[in-house]
Symmetry: D2
Subunit: 305 residues, 4 copies
């Protein structure tokens, strides 16, 4: 018996209301009239806006927007629309960054795991239930024990052992990179992958690597955050989904959440409770990423949820 | 000794970042090009948009927006801007509803109370701390025991006793209406006012009367919700801020929140705990209302928070 | 490749700190001296209490307790301890109810499902990760589409189709009962099983059937709660884990939680968001049940969390 | 007109159900039989236990308990009961610490404030509403601007200016100490008092000084936590109620909570939002302290809520 999602995911809309959308995201220096230009462009194409949000960062004087348009209201293909938008975008200056995404193009993700499988179970379960806008194209693990989960979901599993020495580790990372790059994924998810990504990998995959950190950053950076939390006697523990950057545990935060603990909770019990927060925060943060709801600036994010 | 806010509130911006804004809200039948028209209008006036959000209700095909513009980016006065916008709004059809608000025009509120003072303490404390965008112009109570709170904050208190008989009650309501209408308030807040507003009063003040209901509606409508909650053995209790309508406890919900309770909590303890939820939910819901963040359609609300 | 939990679960302690415990739960008419009797009994056996809680319901004058003792501190076996406790319990009157559970006796659960698999994925994922105190002995479904999940986890799946007519339905229920009773489970979990349990089944399995209801009860009882919630325009939706009783949706509540929704969320989107609440609430409520943390009285529960 | 609480607070029960209680708290080295001894002692006095909780810290092998007894079930006065308990407590070793509190003895608090009044408004409002178990005997401020709040509630306000130089500061602290010590308060509350307590003051008032820190400790220790939070781009901000110790921001945590923020929130907006968390966390943490629900060990707390 096979999972539910054997139908071609291309046929499925990413939008939960079942409606195919074109999603435009843009970040550029702020100025009067940007919204008017965007809106006029979309109106001229017949674009029916179903969801839109703007934000201007007053400190950096930067403008951000995300706009979702009913795909069927536009006669152009997504490629034609992209081409037509290019001269508009040029008016917003050379530093403007934009994307136009057709929600029918299901995003591809590679998951990197270690020994703990709760996030892997959770994400693959969501995909199997047909309510998560991604296709998991591969799982890479530095241990073998989670292979069965991937296999049960019909996803290829790659076992890449990580030796302890620097040279061996580097080679292992290169092997991982080769696998990952072969899939051209939209998201590389460190789903409790306990290896620190080398800086050049962070840069190679900039804006595509999401990590789930098992603490409420910036509290308890580094190793064994639940033990640190227990030692400090905090009354809430948390989890943080962030983009991986060369500055460890300091990448732009996408999503966070906390759960209540008490004096009764040992570090082991906090680990168990924390897994729930990790699953939830990763699932939410990754969804925002996949739906083009996150725009990064410096080490901060705009999240149009 | 007098409260902190003796300076003229007109000098104070309602926006927490200290910036004076013009806020445009609009609801109208959805169509392609509305955003373009709005944005072009604002761009032509030089309007610098700092915050904007749209929403289209697919069921009713209705379009909603709220846009905040830096006041100083526009050379027109708010009256001139309103006049200039009139023909644009006309293009959106006869059913379109819009407002243009200058955040320097501090909103006026009348608070209606009974015996319990926690919401009154909370709201007046917020105003005294200068972080709440309203001026409390009067407090009306059907008991005298809360008069001292209003007086301590330099707010006139009106005592209107409510007899038990229908005729007396009606007369009392008319007296309240006379007081309230004299102030032309932007918000009439039932801050634990335990009298049911007659239907014609709901209509007279439609869209301006906010009630705080001490349950997570639609659970435990009617009287003594904490006792109902205790009897049912729920694990969360809540509070609901909603617009008062002739359908008791059924008006459009603006904001809700809950708190956790356990088997240990008696109805009295739930009342005590619930007061915190009531204060918080009323303060949030009322702020949304005062900042023109709430648009009503049917018995639902769009809240651009 | 097989799941992680191929080791004999009997070897695994249910307590997250890895410590085997004897857990005593007792409900009886309240009186002075009960705690002294219990504590003296446990002290005489050398019992080292690691966690204990009491509660007296003042309305019904009923006493409840749960006490966890380090198993290794007691020389008696659990059977000997049970026997020794019998005369003590007798002193608390004929209506006293008590249990003595050895956490090394892993609890057995049968899961009943329909078409939606998110709760099934979640519970089996938790068990596979070795952090959930139960053994899933069987899954019964009235559709076949979730069979693959059970099979992937090495759990037998029984397909029992439910016809629409009353006689066929009754027969199907009897078939389910035969399967379920064959396993003598400690918990029968309606993991989004969309059939209403007949009253005599509720009674046969009283105190062992847990349901997850996809609303914040008592709001939106009955069918399609997310559609009801959308129509009412609530700002929070929730889920409720409760014991099934003949009074539909009115059984004793074990656990509840809510999540925030906005005007943007369609009923379909609420369903998607709500699944997270359902998974979390069911997992927590079921854990409380499995760890003997729930004591029922009337339609209320004491939960010693 | 005067506040509601002009009746003698001695007449009011601290327990929300209106029932007068004797509350026993004990911390001592763990051993078998402690509970039996305690329970037997209470049973012999006829003590009707209404609420009780135990906890054993496995790391430090320390036992903690809090037990609430219906006062009317015991014929002894609280002094007689204390005397009778002394030899029992002695059996638990020289390091045992215990208290026996009659809830009719309303706890006394001195509040230390600076310029921001939200916590002062909140706490005095709660007391005025008769639902907070304390008497505020004095407010001390290093600025004058909050004097009116204290005066409105009929509480004496002491203005002690704090010079910038070390000698002047020390003298100011000594003046504060003289005022505070004159009241023999059960709680000294730093309600956004922006001065760092000297180490010898922390020790003099050990276990009685509660601080509200405007961050989710240990994140953003030190100055301007909301600005730090904004800079780091966190998605949740929080507040922490903790006992003040010579190690700044590192005292035992009693209570914490968080609220959600977004990219739209400036540091000033976070300050405004954060005030709600501060008020709530301080009110809860202080209540736990006043109701003898907090037992400290090392830099951690047991909170029997």
């Amino acid at each position: 018996m096979t999972p539910l999602h054997t139908d071609d995911p291309r046929n499925r809309p990413a939008h939960p209301s079942g409606e195919r959308q074109y999603v435009l995201t843009l970040g550029c220096p702020d100025d009067t009239g940007i919204v008017a230009k965007l809106a006029t462009f979309l109106a001229e194409k017949g674009g029916w806006i179903t969801e839109a949000a703007y934000f201007t960062d007053p400190e950096n004087n930067w403008f951000f927007t995300r706009q979702a348009i009913r795909a069927e209201s536009v006669s152009e293909s997504i490629e034609e629309l992209r081409e037509a938008f290019e001269p508009i975008a040029a008016e917003f200056g050379p530093r403007a960054q934009w994307r136009l995404w057709d929600t029918a193009e299901l995003k591809k993700a590679v998951l990197l795991v270690s020994r703990e499988g709760h996030c892997l179970h959770d994400l693959l379960g969501r995909v199997a239930e047909n309510d998560y806008p991604m296709e998991v194209v591969a799982v890479v693990g530095n241990h073998e024990n989670l292979a069965y989960i991937a296999e049960n979901h019909g996803v290829p599993f790659y076992h890449v052992p990580f030796p302890k020495d620097a040279v061996g580790k580097r080679r292992a990372f290169e092997e991982v990179a080769e696998i990952v790059n072969g899939y051209e994924p939209d998201a590389i998810v460190l789903a409790r992958f306990m290896q620190i990504l080398p800086p050049d990998f962070c840069e190679m995959w900039a804006g595509r690597v999401l990590n789930i950190h098992h603490s409420f950053l910036p509290s308890f950076m580094g190793a064994r955050p639940y033990h640190q939390a227990h030692k400090r006697g905090v009354k809430l523990i948390g989890a943080t989904c962030h983009y991986a950057t060369p500055d460890l545990d300091d990448g732009p935060i996408i999503e966070q959440d906390v759960i209540r603990v008490t004096h009764k909770d040992t570090p082991e019990e906090m680990q168990r409770l924390g897994r729930d927060a990790e699953k939830r925060v990763l699932a939410r943060g990754l969804r925002y990423h996949l739906e083009d709801r996150v725009l990064v600036y410096g080490n901060r994010t705009v999240v149009f949820d």
